[in-house]
Amino acid sequence: MANFFPRWANWIPLKLLLIVMVLGAVVTGGIWYYFTPKYTNVGYMPAQPAPFSHAIHAEQLGMDCRYCHSHVEVAGHSNVPSTQTCMSCHSQIKAQSPKLAAVRASWETGTPVQWVRIHKAPDYVYFNHAVHVNRGISCHSCHGQINEMPVVYQAQPLSMAWCLECHREPEKFLRPPSEIYNLNWRPASAQEQLAMGAQYKKEWNVNPPVTCGGCHR
């Protein structure tokens, strides 16, 4: 009886198996790489109604974060400044600049400037700014080097795994209370950070929740 199948057909099942395995790896890798806030959220840099530059205000002029985000130490929500805050200076400085048209329109009409929110936690996450900045977590830990950003973008994924990295080991991130708003501060070394962080953790009784109810209510 003649061979129905040529000799190379013997390899077909093996080759198919290899193809399926490679495709499985590619799909898995693709989901691992793309289906995460590290891809979907990091780098989000929307255009704002007025092109506000943190690099100019916070770094070049040396303004404190709290001049505008004035209630960050006492409120869960870190406020975006009101139009009056902008106009405190911009009623005179660059008062005719076309870049500030949206702010002037808001000042004249009383309608808020529609700033585009960049850092968003899902609505079932109750993040509280005040408890973090009052207990040794700097703006820098979550917002990155925002004092050098001409246009703000999201620097960290703000995913749950990312939150837990710090909630499990806060000593790696706690810094002196005087340096919370100094975004250029860095610990002298990793060892020093750990020693200092462990001391603060003990002294302040820092015990970040890692249970569901800590952040989800």
């Binding site: 290899l18 590619v26 979907t40 929307p46 406020n79 005179q92 609505d123 079932y124």
Partner: protein, 228 residues
């Protein structure tokens, strides 16, 4: 067969990276939401618009003609201070007494209506450096960074008019502003305003102070500092 498969896969991956890009790439497009379950709840959130209200403001303004709880209504109708009765937030201004307004009746009062402690002065210094130093300068000379960028008529504290100004009037200036300065009442709560007033007084004193004004116990600390 395998060769074509791998060539096809390679082309697909190149196409994928070309279209989808890499992690952390800057983009103005709204984030992709893979599982958006309950991410967006129709509740009112801080500084977020709400279509529930006709003006789309999530944060509500007080209803015209109402008085917030804890707020004392202005006493006299023929009031020389037009800002009286203006809503400034319950936590911020909640009455018509000296503590809240800086005046007794229609007169500016003077004196800090809070215990002046080292903590209050430290707080005042910190708040001053956040909110005031941008224009008025770290030592109150009116030479803050904003002046270099075109803000004019910044008052120096080291002039007789301001040395003699009542504490209550300085307090009122912080809350409601004056001339080209807009009010900071929405950003600086009540206790901090008085702490800043106390610190401004300290800045004024420091301009003409000598080492003899420093308490004996503190002099050694000052003298130990490197001389400029």
């Amino acid at each position: 067969m395998l060769r074509y498969f791998f060539i096809g896969l390679g082309l697909f991956l190149v196409g994928l990276f070309a279209v989808a890009g890499f992690r952390g790439q800057k983009s103005g497009k709204p984030p992709i939401e893979i599982f958006p379950d309950m991410d967006h709840q129709p509740k009112v959130k801080a500084q977020v618009p709400s279509s529930f209200f006709s003006d789309n403001r999530g944060n509500r303004l007080p209803v015209a003609g109402t008085v917030p709880i804890g707020y004392e209504a202005p006493r006299s109708k023929d009031n020389p201070f037009p800002d009286e009765g203006k809503y400034n937030g319950v936590r911020f201004t909640a009455g018509t007494d000296y503590l809240n307004t800086g005046r007794f009746g229609d007169q500016w009062g003077t004196g800090i209506p809070l215990p002046v402690t080292a903590e209050l002065m430290q707080r005042g210094k910190e708040r001053y450096q956040i909110f005031c130093a941008v224009c008025h300068g770290a030592s109150g000379g009116g030479n803050g960074v904003a002046g270099q960028y075109g803000l004019v008529a910044i008052a120096s504290y080291h002039q007789d008019r301001l040395r003699e100004m009542a504490d209550g009037e300085i307090y009122n200036t912080i809350v409601h502003g004056k001339n080209t300065m807009l009010g900071y009442g929405d950003r600086i709560p009540l206790n901090d305003r008085w702490a800043i007033v106390a610190y401004i007084r300290a800045l004024q004193l420091a301009q003409t102070a000598t080492i003899n004004d420093v308490p004996a116990g503190e002099r050694a600390k000052l003298e130990a500092l490197p001389q400029p």
